[in-house]
Every structure is written in C-alpha cells, then in structure tokens.
Amino acid sequence: MRRLISLVAIVGLCVSACGGAQLAVGEPRCDSAAGWAVLLEFQAVPSADLVPCFHGLQEGWEVAGFEARDGKARLWFNSGLDGSRFLEILLEETCEVGDAEMVPPGRDPRLPLASDYPGTTRYIAIERFTPTKVGESGFYRGSWFFQFAGGCVTYVFNAAGSEVEGLPDQVAEWLGFVPRSVYAQQLQEDCPECSTGGAERLTHQPSP
C-alpha cells in the first residue's frame, strides 16, 4: 500500500512538474494607457481593429485567467454568484457564428451594450436561459459574437446561479473594447522607433 501511495505521488509530481508553466494572469483593462495584457492581445491577432477589455469588475467577479498567444487571446472570469468560469472571452481573427441571430446595429434590449462600436456586426445565440426561481438556480448559456475588421470576439456564457437575469446588463456595463488607435498612440509614446520596424499591422489605424 505504501509503495502504491509513493508511486502515485511520484507519478503525480512528475506529471505536474513536467508540464508547462502556469499561465500568467493578466488584466486587459480598458484604460486609456494600454497595459501589457492589451498589447499582447493586439499582438496575438495583429489584424484586429478592436480587442476585448474590461472597465472594472462587478462585485463577486474575478479574473480567473488570461492567455495570449499567436492567433488567439482568451480571458475568463469566475463569480461567486454565477459560477466558476461563467464567462470566457475569446479573440480570434475569424469566428464561426453558426446559427446565431444577427442583431441590428443600435441599442437592442436583448444585447444591451453600454457603448456601440462602429464597424461591429453582432450575433447572439442563447442555448439556455432559465430565470432563477426560489430554491433553484437559473442558467444562462450561449454566445455573443462581435465581428469587425480583422477580428472577431466571442463571449461564451456558462452561468449557473442566483443572478443570471442581471448578467447581460452587468456584462454590458463592465466589458468593452480597446480600439487600435489607443495602442498605436501608446506605442508612439513608449517606443517611437518601433513603429518604423515592420510593425505596420500593429500601428495601422482602424478601418472606417
């Protein structure tokens, strides 16, 4: 028995230690001065005119993880009320919207974004929406898509808890986008000579 426990412990440690490093948790905030997480998002998808960010966090939310790599950036949140990983935001160059319904431009009660971004086309696909009842959890599962020049942002919801009715409003209030112009301006200030060095895609202005 002791040998078995030792063996399991060694195997566990080996698999654990031989794995990759833990993902560095970053926070792509929508501040005017672009932080490193936002810069990495732009570098992950150099063609994108917009990258996702958050203005702040609803009480009970926390940034559970952030990962930026070539071709993709991901950001996911946990919430004490809506569950672990209740929302994941994905930035890619393109995305498959499938059967999602296109939402006409302008404010829409089903997709109450606080600020509208010109050039975005929005789609919504709600798989399950069950309001909270007394003694029962509510559910909000589905995806929101934002397509724009050079990129696509997907909000994947998998919320189960007591506050799911207010979730769309909260997401609309706290989440947003950073336009490439902010990044270009930041780059110009921090590293003027960098803009001359093959970083054209990083400094180009948003498409009209």
């Binding site: 080996c14 794995g19 970053g26 490193w36 570098q43 150099p46 070539d70 780059l187 000579e193 960098c194």
Partner: protein, 586 residues
Amino acid sequence: MNGRGPTDRELLDGIELGPRVAPALEHVGERREVRFAGIRFGGRWRRPSGTPAPLPRPLNMSGRLWLVAAVSMMFMWLSIFLWPALADWWTRRDHALLLWLTNIRSDAATAFARRAQFLFDDEARRALRLGCVLALVIFRRWRHLLAALGSFFAAGAILNFLLPGFGRPRPFVEIAGRWLGPAHPSAVVAGLTLTLVVAGYSLIPEGRWRRRWFVFSASTIAVLSLVQMYLGVDHPTDDMVGALFGAAVGVTVFRLFVPDASFPISYARGRKAHLDITGARGAAIERALRDQLGLEVLETKLVGLESSAGSTPIRLTVAGEGGDMHLFAKLYATSHLRADRWYKLARRILYGSLEDEVRFASVSRLVEYEDYMLRIMRDAGVPSAAPFGIVELTPEREYLIVTEFFDNARELGDSEITGAVIDNALHAIRRLWDGHLAHRDLKPANVMVLDEAVQLIDMAFGTARPTPWRQAVDLANMMLTLALHGEPERVYRRALLQFAPEDIAEAFAATKGVTVPSQVRHGLRERKRRDGLDLIEEFRRLAPERKPISIQRWNAQRVRLTVAALAAAAGLVWLAVQNFRGAGFL
C-alpha cells in the same frame, strides 16, 4: 627592581613538570614518531595560516562564470526597475537587433525556423522532462529525482511571478513564430535550459562527458534563441535572461542539495548514498591523516555500508610496528549534517521532545560531539573503540573521526549467542547505566563480537545524563537484539543477573515501534513470521506487569513545527496544483 620581567626561558625553567609529563615533552620538537597500541604515529604538522586545507573548496572557473552571470542578470533586472531610461535603452538595443534579423528573413529560413520551434513546445519539454525523470526512477536516484522535480517546480513558480511582474509585450516587429504569454524572461528558453541542465547534473557523471553535454546544451540554446529572435518572438534580452535564469535555478538546486562531492553520479553497482573516497578526496584523506595524525595510509576502503546512513564508514590500512594494521574512520560532510537535521526534525514532529533532539550547527560540532561521546564512553568503561582524534579535510564541511578497528570481529547478528556473549552485552548496558550514559542506537550492526567479548560501536547518537526512559529503552533494545536469533527466556534469565525484574519491566513498558531501531524491527518481523513469536510481548510476559510508558510529548515547539510543516506541505500541494493547471490537467 630593574623593571625587567623574567624571560620566557626563565619562566619555563620555573615550571615544575610532573614526572609523567616531563619525559614525554622532552625534545618534542625534534621527535617525529610516537607509538601507541602498536600503531606508529609519525610527526604531526600544524597547518600554517594561509595554507590550503587538504580538500580545499575553491570557487572554480565555472563557479566564477556563474557568479558573473548572476550578478549581470540581477544588475539588468534592477536597472529596469530603478532607471526607466535604462529600460528604454535596452528596448532600443533589442529592437535594433531584431530589425536587422527580420530584414534578412527569407521564406525558406522562416519555414525552417518555425519547424525548429517545436523544441520549445510543451510536448517536447514534457517528453524531455519525463524521459529524465524516468531514467532517474530506473536508476533509483531518488535525491536527484527530488532535486529535478524541485527545480522544475521552483522555476515554474518564480516564472509565474516574474512574467506578469515584468509584463513585457512581444517585440514590436512582425512576429512570424509561435508564442505564449508575456515575453520577459523567455519562459520557453528558461524551461529548455533548465531541463538540459537538470539532465546534465542528474544523469551524466562529473567530468569530460558532462562538460561536453553542457557545451552542447549551451550551443543548442544559443541557436534556438537566435531562431526565436529571427521569428520576432523574443527580444534578445528575454532569451539571454531566460537562459541564465533556467541555468541558475538548475545549478543552484543541484549544487546546494545534491552536490557531486556528496552524491556523485555513478553507474557502478553499490550504494550511492555515501561519499566517494577516491580521486581528490581519497588523496586528501591520505594527506590529512599523514599531516594531522602522522599516519601512513596504505589503503582506504568503504566498509559496513549496509547499516550506515549517517556517515561514510572507512577502513584504513596503516603502517604499524608489526606490519600493516587497520583503523576505522567515519567521514562526515554537510550532507550528513543535513540528514541529521531532517531526522531530528521529523522526530520532533512525530514524537515531541522525547530527549535531546537539538540539531548541530555545523559539521565540526557534529564530529566533536561524537568524539566526545567516544571518550566519555571509554572513561565510563563501556566497551567501545578507542578514539584517535578528528581529522579536518575541508574546514566546516568535511571531517574524519578515527578510531580503533576491531579486526576479525563480527556483528552480533552473525555471531553465536553464547551465555558469555549475553552477559558481556548486558554488562555493556550496565556500564552505560552506571556511567549515566545512553547509546540510543543499539542494534545487531552496532554490537561487535570477538571471542565472546562485546564492543559497542557508533556512538553518534549517544548522550550523557539521559532520561530514565531512554536508559530503559537501551536495555530493551539490547535484549531484543540478543533474542533475535535465540531464546528470549534465556536472555531474560541472564539479564536478571545484572538487572532487577522491575528494570526489565520498565524497559519493555517504554518500548514502542519508534524506540526500536529499524534493523531490530525488521528482525522482530522476521522472527514473528518464522515461528510466530512476538519478542516484545514475550519479554513483557516474563517481566513483572507494568503500565506502558507514554512516548508522546507535546509542547509549544512541537505545535509550531507541526504547523510549519503542514504549511510547507500545503505550499507544495498548491505549487503542484498550479503546475497541473498550467499543464492543462485541471
């Protein structure tokens, strides 16, 4: 009074030396030879100030290089935090080099570089590390395995802290390769460098082949770093610091916890927990014994390795009056000191303050203690090896204790247990009791028999003024040792010749699993398996009834240590979970 004091000569003339001392000191300066117990001790030499020790521990070339590299890395990092202008300067240098590299790109070279990046992928790193770990498991090199896993964990944890701390974006050039996360320090370069360093230290014996491995590793890292820069994935400083960081973690962990001097890599058969006494250390041992004890060493040989874990036991063949003679020596180093500390810490957590479990501050204190024990045991008439002194190999790091060697003696477990042997063994306990001493590690390997005479060896755990509990346990362990291959009733009856029945009752009332050395415990299990006899219960049945003596002791220090150990274990679990999460298993 003329104000002039007496000269040294006059002072010396005024001293009356006793009749025993005076002849011994006569012409001591010119005398180059002393005889004691048939062994010829030559002239002793005092090491003048500034002269290197027999086994010096200089900072060699690689050590100096690491020192320079570490200082450079620290300076670079500090400069980035303290002087933002300097960080801009680094960025401009990085960018200029990257621009030059990206301007010479060609489709074929870029395609090749992208393929070469597979060595930095998670899968490649995992395969390399698992291969290394598997080899260490196959060769049962557990300390190196722990060091390898520890260095992987440590590097991962530090990188997780550094990467968002620096939060450096990728280079502002067109990026043509694969990447993940912030740029500084380069996690992939650090990870691969660490893996190669760990493989070198844990699998390849010190010497030419290891040097070649490190040259190969450095070249590989340099080429792959160039690939990263060419693809615009890393800044030059990211790769440079990543490589230094990975190597520094590996070198530090392995040199600190499994130094080659103590845990050399060898693919020869035999136990690997003992120090290598060939090569530079072997020569140093011979030189030190000649200079410090005046002994001409003809041969050094490891002996009794099976039952020694706390030191490296050596049999010395020296030039004697009537021919070659044998002496016994125990080699102590910092690894033994660390092992002793861990052993005592574990005992304090598991059982509380049973007895004096204070750790030694240095190797010299450890050997001084054992030498002192040998001497007071001898003074108390306990049959034991005569001590011949301490020999210094490396100040504060390695020492030898030299004692008498019992030629032709056999371990108690390998000897015939006659009535005289039982009486002599129990008489040794009687001497310990009368001298207010305890041996604390009585087992077959530590009781030598020669012509029915018994000698106790290995006084490292001995203690003066022990608790009554500990003295009682010594008696129980000796009786158990004697009964392992004989009749317990016979041992009990002969014990009554020297001890009261109440003494024996106390001894076995204090006996628990933890108080019995592992070699005796193993013998007890064998005996029970062989003929169903539980020796401890048998002695308890023979002796008067007595309530068991509790061995658990609780105090504030034990609580503190337990909490600290639990916290450390929780930290390790947390680290493991973080690594699991990073590897995508959670």
